[in-house]
Symmetry: none
């Protein structure tokens, strides 16, 4: 029996409040002084929680596997990341703030410069400015709202990039890129890779022609290319699976988007760290599961900026009283993957996790750090097991068997 189905079978309603604080890319590797970013950070609030709660390490996907943000978050939300996958196109769409529902197909777009006979002269339209991009997207959005009953939504990206989302019945991601991939080649039109993709290919090509007609007088961005057609995965949603009312409190569009895909509500939490911790109390009565996402640890990890990553961790630690004064029944502090400054990239290293509730068996952990967590009572566990543990500590799972 699948774990998810078992949890779903056992779940009961309750009024308990659960907080999942995800500090993106939190896990690290030892720096010059032999300590990881988290170990080096002064975090008395985390340490106190580590002493009173249970700690461990989360194996996000499988040993040695480096997770992208998609699989990392799906695992934290209780989905086996090897069973459920989010396509790259969907994630990019979510990253620019696109709303993607389960039947939608989205694609990554490029503004491009085409010759009068449709030879692609510049796949990036001279890398037009973000401002110009916004103007064009705004103009196109007004003029292309629907094609053959399929709704069209457009989102600006950086430079020449944008995202298009098609919404309607009978769409499919089984469509090849409408992109010759190289300058100087004739336009390549979208083509279905199976009969299921026929409608989408037709819509995509009609979209490209409409864009071409509308932008015919542009010097640089007088056409467009589409690639990476992808569909949101069909997955059971958290509210139905676990009888919870979840909300995402995040600064960045991608994480809001992933949360929406699993059935969370999404609220505006501003553009900075403090915003997250101000938003949380304001939504306390309305929801029972709070996913709070801190991005900046990952960003500094990718920059290889050890001190800045450490400082963000300290900052988050210092904001913990704002969470604790709400008296959550279950509080989990963890991450979606490691981003060691040494690697300037996501990595495969397991992720520290701290679980705090009235029903823990505190171990000998006295700090919140990778190696102290490794001695914790949760052990090294698959990340997608965490959700069940949160529900259990929230007294939301009935007994299995009589």
């Amino acid at each position: 029996m699948k774990r998810m189905d078992l949890l779903s079978e056992l779940v009961v309603e309750n009024q308990t409040k659960m907080v999942l604080l995800v500090i993106d890319g939190l896990g690290g590797l030892p720096g010059e002084d032999g300590k990881t970013e988290l170990e080096a950070a002064l975090t008395p609030n985390f340490d106190k929680l580590a002493t009173k709660g249970e700690t461990g390490l989360l194996q996000m996907v499988d040993p040695g596997i480096t997770p992208g943000s998609g699989p990392g978050h799906l695992a934290l939300f209780g989905y086996d990341p090897l069973e459920f996958r989010i396509g790259r196109g969907i994630l990019e769409a979510l990253g620019v703030g696109a709303q993607v529902e389960s039947q939608d197909v989205c694609a990554r777009g490029n503004f491009a410069t085409l010759s009068p006979d449709d030879v692609v002269l510049d796949r990036r339209a001279g890398r037009i400015s973000a401002e110009r991009n916004k103007e064009l997207i705004s103009f196109l959005s007004e003029n292309i709202k629907e094609i053959r009953g399929v709704k069209v939504r457009l989102y600006s990206g950086e430079e020449h990039r944008f995202v298009v989302v098609f919404s309607g019945d009978g769409l499919s991601e089984e469509v090849e890129d409408a992109d010759p991939q190289k300058n100087g080649l004739p336009m390549k039109w979208a083509a279905a890779t199976s009969s299921r993709g026929n409608l989408t290919a037709t819509i995509a090509n009609e979209f490209i022609k409409r864009v071409r007609d509308l932008l015919i007088n542009e010097k640089q961005a007088n056409g467009c290319l589409l690639r990476g057609f992808s569909q949101a995965p069909h997955m059971p949603l958290l509210p139905q699976l676990y009888k919870i009312k979840p909300v995402a409190i995040a600064n960045y569009p991608m994480y809001k988007g992933i949360a929406r895909l699993v059935g969370m509500d999404v609220v505006d939490a501003g553009q900075n760290l403090e915003g997250l911790f101000e938003t949380l109390p304001s939504k306390w009565d309305e929801y029972d599961f709070f996913y709070v996402h801190v991005k900046y640890t990952d960003s500094y990890g990718e920059d290889g900026n050890y001190d800045a990553k450490k400082e963000v961790i300290e900052k988050v630690g210092s904001l913990m009283p704002k969470v604790l004064e709400l008296n959550p029944d279950v509080l989990v502090i963890t991450s979606d993957h490691s981003t060691p400054c040494q690697l300037k990239n996501h990595s495969w290293h397991p992720v520290p996790v701290l679980l705090f509730s009235p029903f823990t068996r505190p171990g000998s952990c006295s700090t919140f750090g990778e190696r102290d967590c490794a001695t914790g009572l949760l052990g090294v566990m698959p990340a997608y097991h965490l959700m069940g543990l949160m529900l259990a500590h929230g007294l939301r799972l009935s007994k299995y068997g009589a």
Copy 2:
């Protein structure tokens, strides 16, 4: 999704060098002084590596399951040993140095004494000497090279034992033993257990008759029996799976044979421990994955010779500088199973493992020993997860999902 397929999907080429040092039967049980063979051994080089690297215990097959050399090694090479199996016949064949390819069928042979009317008088032909065995095999090899287009290769074993390998199209292991199992019974001929085995049974019986004709004037070894027909398993090979160029550096035929089955090159490493560590540097530029196999720990374990096993461990430890001066990117020191002197046999006890690379989170381990490893950051993990971890530390796996 199967882990092996996932790794294969994520694997990228790189120039990193990986060493897998397998100290056969390394794991042990406490002796009179309360320490295992490994714990008692003075191994400052191992201990230094344990301090800088990550340690843990490998569960070779499953808790409580004692692995043979086949499953133990398959697991270390990344194959789930419950999914992939090597038949006993194949292992015996590999043990006498037979080269077995994926279509071949091999069988264990006995020289036997038969009466003129084919009653088996002595299934072991009076346990003839290894020398006589070699003479007979040499004579038979010259006279039976092929039967009905199927190639025949013969390998001497100990006393009355030999191995025959049939190579050709349409062969199958679905054949019952050509052996009455008891003296005094009439010869029992090979019989197919399914129609797929028909050709092999025919070839086997014709082989036995040709041997009988050729040895008709022998007093003792005037015939032969065949049993344990088995075929090399169909398995994906390491070079294709993981884009690596692997080589086996081993003293004993069986381990060279297992390595060949998974697609490794095999080189001559002489007949002793020192030979292994002299061969390694000589092949350093040619390969990127080095499987080095030390046999003698297992042999002494099976003898119950605690001190001798301990001394071999110390010897291997003292040879580590020869490995370290090559600056491997990833170095793993472990075993294919435990062989505690107390049991004089393979055992089910998990096996110590030490992984050393620039990307480890060193734990509190200060020695390389079973119980210190049990506190290591790798935890207790299935042995077949190790290969993915080696590839990760060798920076040979791309990110899973965006």
